[in-house]
Structures are given as structure tokens and as C-alpha cells.
Amino acid sequence: MPKTRIPAVGSEGWFTEDGEGPALLGTRCTTCGTVFFPKAGFFCRNPDCDGSDFEEVRLSRRGTVWSYTDARYQPPPPFVSASDPYQPFAIAAVQLADENMVVLGQVASGFGLDDLRVGAEVELVVEPLFEDDESVQVIWKWKPTDGGRR
């Protein structure tokens, strides 16, 4: 029986893979327009705004690398390694122009430090984070648009 593909526990509702393609899901305050990721849904965190009404928004699928690094050693729990033995992976902080914010994410499988530079363009994909007995837990990742290798 194939495993179910589910958002990684804790990230439910944080991203979508619907007909329009993969995208992060945030919320926008209908009063002041500020965007929040992960979603805010209680009170607006703009100190000048007392809005408490939010609409779900898809964040920009493309952005530019603000900075990047990798994880050479296996992080401690609650991190779960996708492979045994552990394989290092890269992490990028990505600037989204319209939202004027930076969002972290692992870098897409198959890409590493050599494929990244500050200012390079990346796009959002959804890929496995790890598998357990019943499911493949998926998460958003950033993928270089130029195919990598600068």
C-alpha cells in the first residue's frame, strides 16, 4: 500500500499544492495589508493596527536568496533524518519582493551550497521531509531556478 503524502506534522495549512502549483500560505490583515507567515489569525501584529480580520494569501512562489548555509551534522530531535546515515542538506533564507519579507526553507533535494549565492533566484517546491511507517511527510523547499552550479 502506498504511503500517504501529508504535510509534515506542525506544518498543516502552511503550504498548498493545489491546481495553481505549490505555494506557501500566509494571511493578510484586511485592515492594514500586512502579510504573515506562518499565518496570523488572532490580532494583527502591526502595532499601529488593531485589525483582527485576516484573509488567506498565497505567497510569491519566487524570491531571491538573502543568505544560505547547510547542516553538516545531524540536528538533534525533534529533527528526523530523511536518510540513514544522515545526509547534509542546505538551508536558504529567501527574500520575497511583494511581501517584503524573508522566509527560511531547506534547499531542494539535489542542490547544495555550490548552487546558491546571495541574490540568486529560487522557486518554491514541495518535497519529502522524511518518511515514517504510514506516511511521507512533505515540506516546502527552495529550488534554484537556473538549474544550479553558478
Binding site: 502579510v35 501584529r45 543568505s67 547542516a71 553538516r72 524573508v102 522566509v103 546571495v118
Partner: protein, 395 residues
């Protein structure tokens, strides 16, 4: 406001990894500070503790735990948590009690005992906790964030791994002269660059360890200081939070605030920490003799040079290359204690350990690591969740 408060006494355990109960480090540091201050424990009217979150109830109520261990004397007590800024928040609490006239002399203490390896969240499934989520969903450890800042310096300012290593070399030379430091061996840049990469571009020797340790400060009112001859004056304690939108990615967050609707503040959060201290003190970077900054990584120390105003953005590498921030250099000596590079983090003790070092320097008691004619010193650090601190002391 009834004037400044003064540092009457300081105490600090040697840093290390011994696995004792955190309260013992706190008591040891407190007793040294009391002795240094010439104050009997019975005369302490307020105890401000920095909490450690890794010791169950006794750690959450660190102020009371240490007060009980010293022997209940009826003092009023508080326990503060503010991540790496906990010690400074405790200092701010005690200062306010004194300036408000509720007491003349207060004890501030922080101590920790830390597990080996990466700092990690407490166990259990806690998907409501952003600190749990960043490990689970991203595998983002503390060094991940430090490395993002470091890489940005490389791509923006042309910094190199050798520039980062240079900071470690400097701090290890300083720490070699500090009997309380945990690592007292001078290292070379070859050794730093040969150590394994933890989070590119940072090597193992670019990143601070976790340690056990305790630090304590006895504060007193100006009137009390006059009677006792205490010389070290607390000019500022900044514990500001960010202003929205905070546009630099910070532990343990997944994203920055969005600046789509409201423009970012003029100063970045890290810049604003020292700026608030300078404003409160009526002093500026040009007045400094030394600085103790929170070198969680070597590259982060370079960021701090800019954040506390020692140079403009992008110029920190030059300062380090020219040796300006080393003992005997032309500029403000940074981390004469050896910094976190030689101590390792003992979270609730750290901001107080910085104050201890600046006090020893201002008193001319720093031995072979003494900054010549030290008159004004600043401390700076930043912790999780919008906590930063900066303390300015002068003689």
C-alpha cells in the same frame, strides 16, 4: 530617578562542564560577589535571578533557589527569563528596585548547567512551539542562523573564512590570560580553518560551546556607594525589544516580519540595543575603552562591531585585520575576557559574566588581559524572541 546604581561586588565561577547542580554555581558566584562587595548575605534586600529552563522548578525560580541555598533571609526576590539576555534583565530588575528606593543593596545572580551538543528544545511533541518547529520542519539549529549572517557578510562585504578565524585567534589569546575561562589555549587560524565545517561557512572553532557556570553582581545605591567607595557606575541597562517590522531573520523564526504595509524602523533591532544604552548613558562609541559582545560565532562578533558603532557596516573585517580590537590594538578592545569563544554559553549567567569582566577591567584588576586605562565599557548580547541587552559601565 535618584541617580545611578553602582557595582559593589562581582563574582564568577570558572566556566567548564562539570555537571553539578546549577544552584551550586550560583551560590559560589554569589558568595564571591558578596565577599568582593564586603556585604553580609543578611544585608541583601533583593535577589534577582536569571532563570535556567533546564532544571525544572528550581531553575524556573532561580532567584528563590539561590536565596534558599544561601539561607532564607526574607529578601524580596525575582526570577527572570530572557534567553541570552536573562542576566541583564535581572540586573535591570535590581537596578529599578534600588532606584525606586525599595532597597540599597541587591544581589543579581545567574547560573546554568548545560547538556552536551547543540542546544535543543525540551522533549515531547510540541508543534505549538516555534522552537520545536524549527528543528522539526527545517532542521535549523542555532548555528544555522549564525551561518546565514556569516555568509551574508561574505557575499555582501567580501569577508572570508580567514576573517572569521582571526576573531577566534584574538579571543583565544585574550582567554589564555583569563583564569576563569574554560578554553585557555591560544589557537591559530590554521587550526580554525582545519576544524570541521558545522554550518557553512562556519567551522567548529568559529562557534561557541555550551558550558556550566555562574556569575553574580552586587548592586548598590549611589548613597551606599559613597559610603563604601564603590567606583564602577552603571550608566545604562538596555533591554529593548524590536520594532515592527523586524526585517532580519532571527532564531527561532521561520520568517521575518513583512514590511509590505509598514516601513522598517531606522535602526535594525541589533543596532537599537546598543543605541538605547548609549542614549541612556549619554555616551557614544567614541567613549569606549572596551566591549564585551556576544560572540556566539566569530562572524557575529564582526556584526557586533557595527551594531555597537565601532565602525560602519562592512568595515568590521578591516578592524579585525588591523588588530584594532585586540588587546594592545589601536581601537576599542573587544572581548578582553576571551568572550564566548573561550567560555562557552551558560545562558542565564552570560550577560552577568560580561558585567563582571567590564567591572574587573574598570577597576584595573584584569591582570595580563588588562585594557590600559579602561574608563568605559559596554556589553551587548541578543537572545531568542526579541531579547537583547546592553549594559554600559564607567568609573
Amino acid at each position: 530617578m535618584s541617580g545611578d546604581v553602582f557595582v559593589l561586588g562581582v563574582g564568577m565561577t570558572p566556566w567548564g562542564k562539570w555537571g553539578r547542580n546549577f544552584a551550586e554555581y550560583g551560590v559560589e558566584a554569589a558568595r564571591e560577589a558578596l565577599s568582593d562587595a564586603g556585604v553580609a548575605w543578611r544585608d541583601i534586600q533583593f535577589v534577582a535571578g536569571g532563570e535556567t529552563v533546564r532544571n525544572g522548578y528550581p531553575g524556573y525560580v532561580a532567584g528563590a533557589t539561590v536565596a534558599q541555598a544561601l539561607g532564607w533571609n526574607g529578601a524580596r526576590v525575582s526570577s527572570s527569563y530572557a534567553a541570552c539576555a536573562s542576566g541583564a534583565t535581572a540586573l535591570a530588575a535590581a537596578r529599578a528596585q534600588i532606584l525606586a528606593g525599595f532597597c540599597d543593596v541587591a544581589l543579581v545572580v545567574g547560573a546554568d548547567t548545560t547538556p552536551k551538543g547543540f542546544l535543543a528544545p525540551t522533549s515531547g511533541e510540541r508543534p505549538d512551539d516555534p522552537d520545536w518547529l524549527r528543528f522539526r520542519l527545517l532542521g535549523a539549529t542555532n548555528p544555522t542562523y549564525f551561518a546565514l549572517y556569516a555568509r551574508r557578510r561574505m557575499d555582501l562585504y567580501g569577508a572570508t573564512p580567514s576573517d572569521f578565524a582571526r576573531v577566534k585567534v584574538k579571543n583565544s589569546r585574550h582567554g589564555a590570560e583569563n583564569p576563569r575561562a574554560r578554553y585557555r589555549k591560544a589557537v591559530t587560524d590554521e587550526e580554525v580553518l582545519a576544524s570541521p565545517v558545522v554550518a557553512d561557512p562556519l567551522h567548529l572553532l568559529d562557534i561557541c560551546a555550551t558550558s556550566d557556570g555562574g556569575a553574580a553582581v552586587v548592586l548598590c545605591s549611589e548613597a551606599y556607594a559613597r559610603r563604601t567607595g564603590a567606583q564602577v557606575r552603571v550608566r545604562a541597562v538596555s533591554t529593548v525589544t524590536p520594532q515592527f517590522p523586524n526585517t532580519v531573520i532571527e532564531m527561532p523564526n521561520f520568517a521575518t516580519d513583512s514590511a509590505a504595509a509598514l516601513a522598517p524602523p531606522t535602526l535594525s533591532f541589533r543596532d537599537s540595543i546598543a543605541a538605547a544604552a548609549y542614549e541612556e548613558a549619554g555616551l557614544g562609541p567614541e567613549d569606549l575603552s572596551l566591549a564585551e559582545v556576544y560572540d556566539l560565532s566569530t562572524a557575529l562578533e564582526l556584526d557586533w562591531y557595527e551594531n555597537i558603532g565601532l565602525c560602519k557596516a562592512g568595515e568590521a573585517e578591516r578592524l579585525a585585520r588591523d588588530g584594532d580590537t585586540a588587546l594592545g590594538g589601536r581601537g576599542v578592545t573587544v572581548n578582553p575576557s576571551g568572550g564566548l569563544a573561550c567560555f562557552g554559553e551558560a545562558v542565564p549567567a552570560q550577560a552577568l559574566a560580561q558585567v563582571c569582566e567590564v567591572t574587573w577591567q574598570l577597576r584595573g584588576q584584569a591582570g595580563a588581559r588588562q585594557v590600559a586605562d579602561a574608563r568605559v565599557g559596554i556589553t551587548a548580547n541578543q537572545g531568542l524572541f526579541g531579547h537583547g541587552s546592553s549594559v554600559i559601565l564607567s568609573r
